[in-house]
C-alpha cells in the first residue's frame, strides 16, 4: 500500500506531462493538486500506523545484484520518514493549490509542464525520504536535483535563469559526488547499503571509516542543503517561480541533507570530528547568510538567505547531537518559510512582478491578508513565544548551550540577526508610504482565494505547529515530537541544565529578539533608502563570495581548459591523429610507384621476397 504514496504523484507527472497540449488548465490543476492530496491522505493513514513506534518495511524487488552485493528496492516507513511524508505532501499540496492561482497567466502547455515538474519533484522527494537503503535515497536525491534544475529554469527563454539553473545543478553535483563516494565506501566496508543492516552492524566500521563516511555524506548534505562552501546556488535559484522557491528551496528539498544526517545519526554519533565539523559549518553558514540577508533588496533574495541561515541552524542542531531538535526545526521552518515565500509571491503578484523592496512600502493597507500572514511568518521565524519558531529554535539554542557556551552566544547572535532582517523586510514592504510608480499603485490588488487560503492555513500551522515540541519545562510529559521520533533517533539523555537556567535562557533570547524588532521598527518605519557604504556595501554584494568563486575556481578552470586546448589538444592529440593520416597518405603515394605494370618486375619482387623468406627461415631462426 505504501508504494502508492510516490506512485500517485508519478502518475500525475505522466498525465500532465504527456497530455500538456490536450488537457485544459482546470483538468491540469485538478490532476496536479489531486494526486498530491491522495498522497497526503495515504501519508496520514501511514502516520496512524507507525504512530506507536513500529516500522513498516516494504520490500519489492532486487535492484542490483552483483556477486555478493545485493541491493533491494525497499521502502522504510518509520517515525522520521512519516514526519517528512506529512510535511512534503501536506505543505506540497497547499503550494500546489497556491500555484493554480499564481501561474494562471501561463500558456496552457507551460502551465501543464509546470505542474508535471512539480509532481515529479514530489515523487522524487517521497522516494528520497521513503527509501529503505541509501541507494533508493540516492535515486530520490538525484531526482529532486533534476526537478530543481528544471523548475529554476522554468522560464527558459531568459538566459540568466538558465545560468542560475545550471549553477544549482553543478553545485549539487559537487555535493552528490561526496555522497556517492560515501556510498561506495560503505559498500566496501560493510557490503550493504540497507539502513537497518548498516546501523545495527556499526562494529564493522572503524572510527576512521565512520569519520570519512560521515564527512563525505556531509559534503552531499552541504550541496543539497546549501551550506558553506556550496551555498551560493540557493539565492540564485530564486529565478524560478515563487511557489517553486517555497516548495523546493525552502520547505522540502533543501532539508534533504538534514533528513539524511538525522537518518544516519548512528554513524554520526561514532565520530566526534564529523559532529564538530557539522556544527561549525552550520553555525558559520547561519551567521554568514544572516549578515548577507541584512542588506539584500530583493524580497525573494532576503528569504533565500534566510533559508540558508535557518538551514545552518538545523545543521548546528545536528552537530551538537540534538538530531530531533534539528528535525523539529525542519518541520516548523517548512511551515513558516513556505508561508513567507507564498506571501512574498502574493506581494509580487499584487505588484505585477515587482520584487525590489525599495519600490514597495505601505502595502499593509492594500493587501491585508497577505500582510497579516506575512507578519505571522516573521514572528514565527524570529522566535517569539508561542509561535512555532520559538519552540524549535529554543530547542536548538538549549542543546547548543549544553554543548558549548561560545557556540551558544554566536547562535543567539544569529537568531537576533534573523529577527532583524525579517522585520526590516516586513517594515520596508508593508509599512510607511508606497514608493513604486503610480501605475503600480493603481494595480495593487489582493490575490484570489486559491492563493490566500493556503496562506491562511500555513499561518495557522505557523502559530500552532510548535506545540508538538513544547519543552519539558512548560508541561509535564511534553516533547511529544521527540518521543515520536525516538525509534529512529534515540533519546540519549535528559537535559543537563536546570529548569531555572532553561527559563532564563528563554527569557534572555525572547527579550533580546523583542529589542531587536523594536530597533528594526525605529530604523525602518519611515524607510529612507540610502546607498550602502563600507561594510554595508560588502554585505549587499554578498561578501563578494560569488566574485571570489568566479576568480579562484571558474577562471582558473577556464585557464586550465585553455591551456589544455592550446598546449595539449592541438599540438599533441591533433598532431598525433593528423600525423597518422599524413603518414598513411604519404606511404600510399610512394607505394603506388611500385605498381609499374611490368610483369617481369612483379615476378622479380616475388622471387626476391621468397629468397628473403628462405634466408630468414634458415639463418635467423
Amino acid at each position: 500500500m505504501v508504494y502508492l504514496i510516490p506512485l500517485v504523484p508519478l502518475l500525475g507527472f505522466l498525465i500532465n506531462g504527456l497530455g500538456r497540449r490536450l488537457l485544459s488548465k482546470t483538468a491540469v490543476s485538478v490532476v496536479g493538486c489531486g494526486v498530491i492530496f491522495i498522497a497526503f491522505a495515504i501519508s496520514c493513514w501511514v502516520f496512524t500506523e507507525v504512530r506507536s513506534g513500529n516500522t513498516i518495511i516494504a520490500d519489492y524487488f532486487t535492484f542490483i545484484h552483483v556477486d555478493k552485493l545485493r541491493i533491494r528496492f525497499t521502502f522504510q516507513i518509520d517515525a522520521l520518514s512519516t514526519l517528512f511524508l506529512l510535511i512534503i505532501t501536506g505543505v506540497g499540496f497547499l503550494i500546489h493549490v497556491y500555484s493554480t492561482g499564481y501561474m494562471h497567466q501561463e500558456k496552457k502547455e507551460h502551465y501543464a509542464r509546470y505542474f508535471s515538474y512539480m509532481n515529479l519533484f514530489v515523487f522524487s522527494m517521497l522516494l528520497l525520504v521513503m527509501g529503505g537503503n541509501f541507494l533508493v535515497m540516492f535515486i530520490g536525491w538525484e531526482g529532486v536535483g533534476l526537478c530543481s534544475y528544471l523548475l529554476i529554469g522554468y522560464w527558459f527563454k531568459n538566459q540568466e535563469y538558465n545560468k542560475a539553473a545550471n549553477k544549482a545543478f553543478v553545485m549539487n553535483r559537487i555535493g552528490d559526488l561526496g555522497f556517492l563516494i560515501a556510498l561506495f565506501w560503505l559498500i566496501g566496508k560493510t557490503g550493504t547499503l540497507d539502513f537497518a543492516e548498516v546501523f545495527s552492524n556499526t562494529a564493522r566500521l572503524s572510527s576512521a571509516d565512520a569519520t570519512i563516511i560521515t564527512l563525505l555524506l556531509f559534503i552531499g548534505a552541504a550541496g543539497k542543503s546549501a551550506q558553506i562552501p556550496l551555498y551560493t546556488w540557493l539565492p540564485d535559484a530564486m529565478a524560478g517561480p515563487t511557489p517553486v522557491s517555497a516548495l523546493i528551496h525552502a520547505a522540502t528539498m533543501v532539508t534533504a541533507g538534514i533528513y539524511m544526517i538525522a537518518r544516519s545519526n548512528i554513524l554520526y554519533s561514532m565520530s566526534e570530528l564529523s559532529m564538530n565539523v557539522v556544527a561549525i559549518i552550520g553555525l558559520a553558514t547561519a551567521i554568514l547568510a544572516a549578515t548577507i540577508a541584512l542588506k539584500q533588496n530583493d524580497i525573494k533574495k532576503v528569504l533565500a538567505y534566510s533559508t540558508v541561515s535557518q538551514l545552518g541552524f538545523m545543521f548546528l542542531a545536528l552537530g551538537v547531537g540534538a538530531f530531533s531538535a534539528g528535525v523539529f526545526h525542519v518541520m516548523t521552518h517548512a511551515f513558516f518559510k513556505a508561508l513567507l515565500f507564498l506571501a512574498a509571491g502574493s506581494v509580487i503578484h499584487a505588484l505585477g512582478g515587482e520584487q525590489d523592496i525599495r519600490n514597495m512600502g505601505g502595502l499593509g493597507k492594500k493587501v491585508k491578508i497577505t500582510a497579516i500572514t506575512f507578519l505571522i511568518g516573521c514572528i514565527a521565524i524570529a522566535g517569539i513565544p508561542p509561535f512555532s519558531g520559538f519552540f524549535s529554535k529554543d530547542a536548538i539554542l538549549l542543546s547548543t548551550y549544553e554543548h558549548n557556551k561560545i557556540l551558544y552566544a554566536v547562535a543567539l547572535l544569529g537568531a537576533l540577526l534573523t529577527a532583524f532582517y525579517m522585520f526590516r523586510l516586513y517594515f520596508l514592504a508593508f509599512t510607511g508610504n508606497f514608493r513604486g510608480t503610480e501605475e503600480q499603485k493603481q494595480h495593487i490588488h489582493e490575490s484570489p482565494g486559491t492563493m490566500t487560503i493556503p496562506l491562511i492555513i500555513l499561518a495557522i500551522l505557523s502559530i500552532i505547529g510548535g506545540f508538538v515540541g513544547v519543552p519539558e519545562v512548560f508541561m509535564h510529559g511534553a516533547e511529544r515530537l521527540m518521543q515520536f521520533l525516538s525509534p529512529v533517533i534515540p533519546v540519549t539523555k535528559g537535559h543537563s541544565v536546570s529548569h531555572a537556567t532553561e527559563l532564563m535562557l528563554m527569557a534572555l533570547s525572547t527579550t533580546l529578539i523583542l529589542l531587536t524588532i523594536l530597533f528594526a521598527w525605529l530604523q525602518f518605519r519611515r524607510a529612507k533608502i540610502v546607498e550602502a557604504r563600507g561594510l554595508g556595501k560588502v554585505l549587499e554584494n554578498k561578501w563578494y563570495v560569488d566574485e571570489l568563486y568566479e576568480k579562484v575556481i571558474v577562471q582558473s578552470l577556464h585557464h586550465f581548459g585553455a591551456f589544455l586546448k592550446n598546449s595539449i589538444e592541438r599540438p599533441v592529440i591533433d598532431g598525433l591523429v593528423n600525423g597518422v593520416g599524413r603518414a598513411v597518405n604519404y606511404g600510399g603515394r610512394q607505394m603506388r610507384l611500385l605498381q609499374s605494370g611490368q610483369v617481369a618486375n612483379y615476378i622479380l619482387l616475388m622471387v626476391i621476397s621468397m629468397l628473403l623468406i628462405f634466408v630468414l627461415q634458415f639463418f635467423i631462426r
Partner: protein, 109 residues
C-alpha cells in the same frame, strides 16, 4: 644413384626457369620457362618418393606411391594450364601483333 644428384639437377632446372622468366621478353619463352620450373619440382617429387619407397619397402609395399600419383595430377593440371596460357598468348598476338610482354603494361592504369 644418390639423391643429391637429383636435387642438384632439379635446382639447376628451377634456376634456369627463374632466370628465363625474369630476363626474356618473349611470352612464349617465359611460358616455357614456367613449365621448366614446374617440371623441376616434379622431378624432385618423383626422386623423393622413390627414395622414400626404397627405405620403407620392407615395412610397406606401397610406401611413397602418393608422390608418384601426385606428379600425374600436376601434369594434368599443367596440361590444362598450357592450353589456357597458349590461348592467352594467341589472343595477345591477335590484338597487339607481338608477343613481347613489355608491351603489356596497361595494368598500371
Amino acid at each position: 644413384m644418390p639423391i643429391n644428384y637429383y636435387i642438384f639437377l632439379s635446382i639447376a632446372l628451377f634456376c634456369i626457369g627463374i632466370v628465363g622468366v625474369l630476363t626474356r621478353r618473349n611470352a612464349i619463352i617465359i611460358f616455357m620457362c614456367i613449365e621448366l620450373m614446374l617440371n623441376a619440382v616434379n622431378l624432385m617429387l618423383v626422386a623423393f618418393s622413390k627414395m622414400h619407397h626404397l627405405k620403407n619397402v620392407a615395412v610397406n609395399a606401397t610406401a611413397g606411391s602418393e608422390g608418384q600419383v601426385l606428379v600425374f595430377f600436376i601434369m594434368v593440371v599443367a596440361a590444362a594450364e598450357v592450353s589456357v596460357g597458349l590461348a592467352i598468348i594467341v589472343m595477345m598476338y591477335r590484338n597487339i601483333h607481338s608477343v613481347d610482354v613489355n608491351f603489356l603494361n596497361r595494368l598500371r592504369h
